[in-house]
Amino acid sequence: MACRVLNKRRHMGLQQLVSLAETGRTFLGPVKASKFIIDQESHESVLVSSLVRLLESLDLTSAVGQLLNEAVQAQHNTYGTGTNTLFFLVGAWSSAAEECLHLGVPIPIIVSVMSEGLNSCSEEVVSLQVPVHNLFAHMDNTNSSSGLETFSASLGPFLQTPSDPGLTQEEPELKDASHPRTIYSLSGKPLKSHDLFKRQARAEAEKIKSLETLINGPLPGTCCRKSVLIHSRHFNSIDRNRLEDKPSGFLGPPRAAGSKAPSCNGLVELVAGLSHGDPGSMKLVEAAVRLQYQNACVQRGDCTVPFMFDTSRIFTCCLPGLPETFTCVCPGYVTLVPTAHTALIQELQNQSMRVVLIQGDLTETYRHPGFNKSTNIKTVLESTKVSQASTEELWENHILQILTRFNVHLVLAQGNASERLTEKCMYSKRLVIGSVSGHVLQAFAEATGAVRVAYATQVNEDCVGMGICVTFWRRIPLDVIDKKDRIAILFHSEGIHLVTVVLTSPVIAQMQAKEDRFWACACRLNAALKEQKVLLGGGAVELLCLSHLRIIEGNSPKKVSEACSRWLHHHSSWLASSLAQYRATVLECMATGWHRYLSTLLWNTASYSSEPEANTFIQQHLQNAVDSGSPSSYILNAYRDLNSVFNSDISNKLEQIPKVYDVITPKMEAWRRALDLTLLVLQTDSEIITGHGDTQIHSQDSEDFLFL
């Protein structure tokens, strides 16, 4: 067992964090550069275009690397978004903390001032929150879903239009994608969504017209005059005391007295704002939301119950090797079956089937989890009249009998399905599908009234669901045979709360990235819909944080010591009294982190040819924001009155730029996680290696280690 001191001269842990975070720098912002990761030994290479995938392929066995990976995974699993922010800020703040250490600031003071700084920023950005209204009010409006085509490449006022042609090229393909013909071939009466897609198609044809509506329509300043300033904490009565305490110069003129708070009206604007440079994926998410919404309306008859977007009821089906135009969103469940099933599908088409849902494997040997199979049981043969059939055959016949008795033509199993049984069923015109996800089973259980069972032998009349239809996904099924000789089929049932997003890509290496990007957009929209409010994005929030830190740096020392000692746990220590002395330094280092975030963001969007140029741009805005006395109203104004901020060449088409929005909680949590990790590593002074790794350590740099 060995022990290594981490912060002898420079803090090794923080340095590791800084260098690790550097690898994800190009993922920040709307224009993401993909990376090739090459294994030097096997010469295998992977194309990664998201941070989570990058971390999967990196060797992160060091303690700090593992903690970083853990933090990113936790953020990803909880919110599905915000990992890039987290990763970048870990690096930015680690180098800020290192700088503070270098300047001789005691560690507890760095911890408390940085926590205070972030908390203060999080409170401040509340003023940039935008309520989300009337999302589904214009569902029947012909032009409602055409927002993205028009503004696909816009990145917000603080980020200028990127010069990446790839983004704009995606547009024509997408237009095609959103009216899948398969929907028409569904059994029963046509769903409302058919109309939607027809209308959508028409809307796309009249693109110019829709552009006009959008400019005159839901943009703020025209139709949201009724909204009042509700999120400014300075206008809340509770905060009035604090307001009076503060030196008058700090707050400046009452904020936004004559101006309106921004608001986000309609799904179109929200979706455009949250697409973050990926309109293609966002368009699919939007279509999925609309399908879910309509489904909810149809089911309840009215829309009085608030609609909840449910990402667990979205299923992605990847078809690598197919042209991009096949990408689509359709209600129901799309899956792949071997081409050998074609005849069976053809036969089952256009009839309502009875279904059984199996939770486990559909095999003879499967036992529910927790069942311990006894190994030492021997079967004794007492007579010679043993039937020829093996136990497996007996089981298969038994299952077939059950299926026949209950007239079941479809079996969906969560685990594997026995190949022989599947084949036998095929002969008797029954379809067996294995490896169906739990959410899909749940959706079918709700729609058809089926009850999930662990074993097929448990099936009784109450467990059988009815009303499932199967059809080929495309009218000409053989068009879409994938590499493994499988065809896509679509299951549907009246009122099923399930949407399948079929993702196709001719470039197989891109498939994973496409799926990841879709889910990133879905999670972002889901978070925004859940919270009913969003933040102004595109760097606005970070600029506010940056200018806010600049302002509180200069606060009077007395106020400071009171405010700060609240953050120091052991207030009686000498650290509490010397906190004021170091506070400005720490806040400045922290602000540098935000500055780096913004400049990387601008630099990544390729709107600036050099980093100094981007820095000058930020510096100028920062100065204006700080000088104005109230950065939040400056930024709000900049958002409303874009022309005054920009004097670049794109100002003539500024009207076309919709707002960029960010989700609130995932972003705040990413900040907090990033700071937590930084501070955790900062407060760590040694690394203790347990177990029998001694020999390994000896061979490396054993003088760094102390042994126990």
Binding site: A74, I377, W567, S572
Partner: protein, 570 residues
């Protein structure tokens, strides 16, 4: 071909404390524990260098439990720490550091080990008598009519573990929750002997700490599917409960070594399932509304029960069994045979609850003595630390109910005790010695070493180059920036003492811990008002600290007493 190797002779090492190995490793161990101590203590990454789980901690139990020390001397030390922590949860670092200090100081004395040990014993007796006496100036009685002292106690424990990564607001929230969870475990009807219930910590990782909450009764995590299935049959009236500790998964019981011969055509699984279904029928006949099983319930039995509107919950795990049995009043059933009516219990209500992305059954008992603390934290690493800390706090609250006192924290108890010992051994050595085999000078020498061990323990709270002072009236501990100018106005430079009860504006005089100062008066007792007026006291658990002190001195004595280490090297 088998190969035999001759047994190696045992290795005998004399005077182990002077050996190279101990002299190299004991300071490393001391360095590790000392640097972890207190609210600004430094954290440690513990991992196995091959990509295993990384534990970031500064808690003695997490730290020393994972350390694999080799030398027997170190083993004695870590084992006594682990024993202490397993009994009292708290004060592990306190004990380990004090023990290291005592060994170090004891060795440095130019006295025979037996003399040091003898007078250490005397000093320990002096300490414990004083700390337990009414006149003790560094403990305060707990006022159960208000939550102030208890909240301060919990808060002190939470803030002393920086790896929990809590902000001030979060500390307040969690301390209130811990206290509430504890209060819920006290039965309402007070009888002669009160049996405290249990608080169960339920993990909810990935959420914000402020989303944590406390609920009376028990939360049992369930997959969503099962929750949906049973929500339809949930009734609002009291439910009869059957609790199984035997597996109902339908597997054939283990035959051990032998082989079971079964004739062809007989299906054992089917037979067991039939037995299970018979059991199910009996449960339905007995109007049981809720069946719970520590292990797995066979899907067919579940299906049968749900058809008869009986809720079945399985996979409870062994940890929940005891509190469940206590809470519902049911006897865990251990066989598949017929169930006696007396083993059934009851719950008042059962409902479902969703927190974050997890779904739970919420069992509400007839009389609440079990509470569930739903603990959230953003990261796994911080959650583990927070869970351990909350468990410590809950345990400390239990100990405090038994012994209704708390010690002043922040180093004040240590410096106060040192001042007391100095005064006693200087001015009333006769009362300490009581004719034992140790002279007055020897006692004074060892007392000085003992006091310096205590004071340097208080000094271990400081990790950023500050200086520790003590005031001459109360003997409390104060921290100041190092290299302060000589002619400094102390009341302006200092703010409050370590425990937070005294302010620097109270006409005190200070001296540096390093300077040799001999008090002429015993340290004064803290005025009651001072203790209760501040809402921000740093406090320590009475029982744990007192025992920590005892274990530290006794372990140090034991180690100082070692003459030989005999190791079997085979």
């Amino acid at each position: 071909m088998s190969r035999f190797e001759a047994k190696k002779p045992s290795v005998c090492e004399s005077d182990p404390l002077k050996s190279e190995r101990v002299r190299a490793t004991l300071p490393v161990l001391k360095g590790i524990v000392t640097s972890c101590y207190g609210p600004s203590g430094r954290l440690k990454h513990l991992h196995n260098n091959v990509g295993g789980h990384v534990c970031t901690t500064s808690q003695s139990s997490a730290l020393l439990g994972r350390l694999s020390v080799t030398h027997p001397v170190l083993k004695i030390l870590t084992t006594s720490m682990q024993n202490l922590v397993s009994c009292f949860s708290d004060c592990g670092l306190f004990m380990t550091i004090l023990c290291c200090n005592l060994i170090e100081n004891g060795q440095a004395l130019d006295l025979a080990p037996t003399t040091v040990i003898e007078s250490n014993k005397l000093l320990l007796r002096l300490c414990t008598t004083y700390l337990k006496s009414e006149v003790c100036g560094c403990r305060i009685p707990v006022d159960f009519s208000s939550t102030q002292i208890l909240l301060c106690l919990v808060r002190s424990i939470l803030t002393s573990k920086p790896a929990c990564m809590l902000t001030r607001k979060e500390v307040d929230h969690i301390s209130a929750l811990v206290l509430r969870a504890f209060l819920l475990t006290i039965p309402e009807k007070a009888e002669d002997s009160i049996i405290l219930g249990k608080s169960i910590i339920v993990p909810l990782k990935g959420q914000r700490v402020l989303d944590s909450t406390v609920l009376p009764g028990m939360l049992i995590e369930m997959p969503e599917v099962q929750l949906l299935r049973t929500s339809a049959i949930t009734s609002s009236s009291a439910l009869k409960v059957a609790l199984f500790c035997v597996s109902l998964s339908g597997d054939v019981s283990d035959t051990g070594e032998g082989t079971l011969a079964v004739s062809y055509g007989v299906c054992l699984e089917r037979a067991v399932l039939d037995q299970l279904l018979d059991l199910g029928r009996q449960l339905v006949r007995d109007h049981v509304g809720l069946v719970m099983c520590q292990k797995v319930i066979h899907p067919s039995l579940k299906q049968f029960l749900s058809r008869h509107h009986v809720i079945a919950i399985d996979r409870l795990g062994v940890a929940l069994m005891e509190p469940l049995s206590k809470m519902t009043g049911s006897q865990p059933i251990g066989s598949l045979g017929s169930v006696s009516l007396s083993s059934y219990g009851s719950v008042k209500d059962l409902c479902s609850a969703t927190f974050g992305s997890k779904h739970f059954f919420h069992l509400i008992p007839n009389e609440v003595t079990v509470s569930s603390l739903l603990l959230c934290s953003r990261s796994d690493a911080a959650w583990e630390e927070l869970k351990l800390t909350c468990q410590t706090a809950l345990h400390v609250l239990q100990l405090t109910v038994k012994d209704p006192f708390v010690f002043l924290g922040g180093g004040c108890t240590e410096t106060h005790l040192a001042a007391y010992i100095r005064h006693k051994t200087l001015h009333e050595p006769g009362s300490v010695l009581k004719g034992d085999g140790c002279s007055q000078t020897e006692l004074q020498l060892t007392a000085e070493a003992f006091c310096r061990a205590l004071e340097s323990l208080a000094g271990s709270l400081e990790h950023d180059g500050g200086e520790i002072l003590t005031d001459r009236k109360y003997g409390h501990c104060w921290s100041a920036q190092s290299h302060s100018p000589a002619a400094v106005n102390w009341p302006d430079l200092l703010s409050r003492c370590g425990c937070g009860s005294l302010s620097s504006q109270e006409q005190l005089s200070w001296s540096c811990l390093k300077s040799s100062y001999h008090p002429s008066m015993p340290p004064a007792c803290l005025p009651q008002e001072a203790a209760y007026s501040s809402s921000d006291l740093t406090l320590d658990c009475f029982t744990a600290k007192l025992n920590g002190l005892q274990v530290a001195v006794e372990t140090a004595n034991l180690i100082l007493d070692l003459a030989y280490v005999i190791e079997d090297t085979n």
